[in-house]
């Protein structure tokens, strides 16, 4: 084991922190609500090459490893930027996989647009319902959405070319969700067959992995906000940070965050190494990190007392997203069922 960041990883973390701290301030995050999308921020993210950083260099991407993507997702989570970066990274990586292994021309064409910064792609995490991908994260602003339908990986895109964002239904995480597919979009097949479906499954696990990373980052900020507040607020003549019940709650929070971070890094490393249990670890990291993040955000909100549930204080921004973002994957309790099958029933991992 070696838990130290390499120089390159440290540089990556610092440059992302520096970018997001300027471009994804709380004011910008709030201003982007309720649609949850900041076009100017997206241009900046795109200009940095973040959406295609995981795409191999020979396809025009950054050639970053899954672990680097995890570190990126963690910084993303800390600043909750109003932009569907995780979905777009995962969609672009899927296109790269299909362009290579399936020699899909459509995948190559789409990827070229993404590499050029001309298009934003997203991915439907859940199975289609009557030909529709429901509530796709980033779906309201994506130029195209990738999905899996039986043995085909397909793309939904507007017939009329790029167009203005779709209407966003009011939602807990103030994310640019939208239904895509039948009646909204044209449907084209990107690749067909078991290999294509397997590539989509890898993408789904990559989304879980990066969402785990984002939740670790989000939880870290939420915890820091709580720890900061209790060292300012006085009650009964003392700082509430003195109360053991407050301290112990925060100690449990930081412990679960560090556990989640270790597990998520391990899952990223396993993906980088191409280990057979990489998918299982991604699922474990997702389940553990999302539960930890919500617990931490909820506890931190609680420690803010009445201010915690006013919109004026920032902790509610984190509380809402901690619950909302992972729900794109469906009921977490189904996740435990699928993890058990993977771990104990020796299905394909």
């Amino acid at each position: 084991m070696d838990l130290s960041y390499s120089d390159e990883q440290q540089d990556l973390r610092e440059s992302l922190a520096s970018f997001f701290s300027k471009e994804s301030t709380v004011e910008r995050v709030r201003a982007a609500e309720p649609s949850g999308f900041d076009a100017e921020l997206w241009s900046g993210i795109s200009a940095m090459g973040l959406p295609t950083m995981g795409v191999p260099e020979d396809l025009g991407g950054g050639g970053a490893s899954p672990l680097d993507l995890v570190l990126t997702a963690e910084e993303f989570g800390k600043w909750i930027p109003p932009a569907p970066l995780i979905e777009s990274m995962v969609a672009n990586n899927l296109l790269a996989r299909l362009a290579t292994s399936e020699s899909s021309d459509l995948a190559k064409q789409l990827l070229a647009r993404s590499v050029a910064g001309e298009a934003l792609f997203s991915l439907a995490i859940r199975p289609l319902v009557e030909g529709m991908a429901r509530l796709v994260p980033g779906g309201a602003v994506a130029d195209a959405v990738l999905a899996c339908d039986a043995n085909e990986v397909i793309v939904f895109r507007s017939a009329a070319g790029p167009r203005s964002p779709l209407e966003v239904p009011a939602n807990l995480g103030t994310a640019p969700l939208a239904d895509r597919g039948a009646g909204v979009d044209e449907r084209d097949v990107v690749a067909t067959g078991p290999e294509a479906v397997a590539a989509y499954e890898i993408a789904r696990h990559e989304w879980q992995l990066l969402m785990a990373g984002a939740m670790v980052g989000l939880a870290q900020t939420a915890l820091e906000k709580g720890a900061e507040y209790v060292q300012q607020r006085r009650a009964f003549g003392v700082l509430i940070a003195w109360f053991q019940t407050v301290q112990h709650r925060l100690a449990d929070g930081v412990t679960s965050i560090e556990g989640a971070r270790l597990l998520t890094y391990e899952a990223g490393w396993a993906a980088e190494q191409g280990l057979t249990n990489a998918g299982a670890l991604a699922e474990m990291a997702f389940l553990f990190s999302t539960e930890a993040a919500f617990r931490v955000a909820a506890d931190s909100l609680h420690l803010h007392g009445g201010y915690g549930y006013t919109l004026e204080y920032d902790i509610q921004l984190y509380f809402r997203r901690a619950k909302a973002w992972p729900l794109a994957n469906g009921d977490p309790r189904d996740g435990y069922q699928s993890l058990a099958a993977r771990l104990f029933e020796h299905e394909e991992r």
Binding site: D2, Q247, A251, S256, L263, Y265, R333, L339, F344
Partner: protein, 391 residues
């Protein structure tokens, strides 16, 4: 960053299994369970005889030429059989401490006798009125020429019934803050004035209260400098953290899953068919992986020469809390049969889950209760104000 785990002992595992097959009797685990004594003298003698206790120790202190890797693999294999070697675990901690802080004479006599299997040492830290706050010990040691007179009482002196000595934390100075007036002694259990009373615990282990009524011991049995006992004990605590959990066999979740898949419930399906079982087992598997990573992090920090303070506390807090949660959930899963104890023919999984449900209760208490760990984390990681009163 990388997460590889290599089994450093892989080359020794087969030989260790052979050793265990030749020397370990299967009924010993049951004897330990029914007696509550987590030490088997016959086994200990054999470990000493084959140089397993002395492996890695310098010859001048009685060390053997047995390969330390083989020795560790044997101890792992013993633990895999469900056997405890608690007497050796505490003895090992103390002699490693003596090696750091003891006199040359102590190293040559006490360590050598321990490696021969003739000295076995229990820990005498806790008292009726002090547990996690161990420095509040009231047991007194008063100097009388070349001797010390020890008076007081210790609690949870586990395995003392099998031991030749107790490593006693005693107060030698009343005029200084509590951490500064302590000294460590090795008290022979056959000394006049030493007495012991058994205490039986929820998990089945027998521990003891030990009493010291004007016990006279030679100054040669003082370990470390006078009034330096706190520092000496902290050296010993570092060694306490090193404890492992046997070699890597199937995990708890995997073993229970195999059992659940092959065991019918009265409703017709197997235990595993119930989605609640799957969720429980999946949660256990996740927690176990997190606990493993926390423990690995502590080892990694040790390896690179960093002191795992907060990290050790997190590892201990997470593991012990998760352990209790897991056995509680698993006993729930068994329903009414969850109460059946080892030895009952109808007990699922030979009563193992019921037994560990009881015995893991200790984990969040001993070695610093969870509340102490949380304080260390809150202060060390988040910079929250220190709550425990300053001395």
């Amino acid at each position: 960053m990388e997460f590889t785990t290599v089994d450093n002992l892989a080359e020794h595992r087969a030989a260790a299994r052979q050793w265990v097959e030749r020397h370990v009797r299967t009924e010993w685990a049951w004897e330990q369970y029914t007696s509550g004594t987590h030490h088997t003298p016959e086994l200990h003698t054999q470990l000493a005889k084959d140089g397993i206790l002395g492996a890695g120790w310098p010859v001048e202190y009685g060390g053997s030429t047995t390969d330390p890797g083989f020795a560790r693999a044997v101890l792992d294999a013993i633990s895999d059989m469900g056997l405890y070697a608690d007497g050796w675990a505490t003895t090992n901690m103390v002699i490693r401490t003596i090696r750091q802080v003891g006199t040359e004479n102590q190293k040559e006599s006490i360590i050598a006798d321990a490696l021969r299997g003739e000295v076995l040492i229990a820990l005498g830290y806790s008292e009726p009125d002090s547990g996690s706050d161990v420095a509040a010990a009231k047991t007194r040691a008063v100097r009388d020429g070349d001797e010390w007179v020890i008076t007081g009482q210790k609690m949870f002196t586990s395995t003392a019934q099998s031991c030749s000595h107790v490593f006693v934390l005693a107060r030698t100075n009343l005029d200084v803050p509590k951490h500064k007036g302590l000294t460590m002694f090795l008290v022979p259990t056959d000394a006049d004035g030493f007495e012991l009373q058994p205490i039986y615990t929820l998990g089945g282990q027998r521990t003891n209260a030990t009493f010291y009524a004007d016990v006279r011991i030679s100054d040669a049995m003082r370990i470390g400098a006078v009034d330096e006992g706190w520092r000496v004990m902290r050296v010993a605590l570092v060694y306490e953290r090193g404890g492992g959990r046997g070699s890597k066999g199937p995990t708890l979740a995997e073993r229970v899953a195999v059992w659940a898949m092959s065991t019918d419930r009265s409703d017709g399906g197997t235990y595993y068919d119930d989605p609640r079982t799957k969720e429980r087992l999946a949660r256990i598997a996740i927690d176990d992986e997190v606990a493993r990573l926390f423990a690995m992090r502590v080892r990694w920090m040790n390896d690179i020469g960093e002191l795992p303070g907060v990290e050790g506390s997190m590892a201990k807090l997470f593991f012990s809390e998760a352990d209790q949660r897991h056995y509680s959930e698993l006993v729930d899963m068994l329903g009414s049969a969850g109460v059946l104890q080892p030895g009952v023919a109808a007990a699922p999984l030979e009563g193992e889950l019921e037994h560990y449900f009881r015995s893991t209760v200790v984990g969040t208490i001993y070695g610093g209760a969870s509340e102490i760990q949380r304080e260390i984390i809150a202060e060390g990681r988040l910079g929250l104000p220190r709550n425990r009163p300053k001395e």
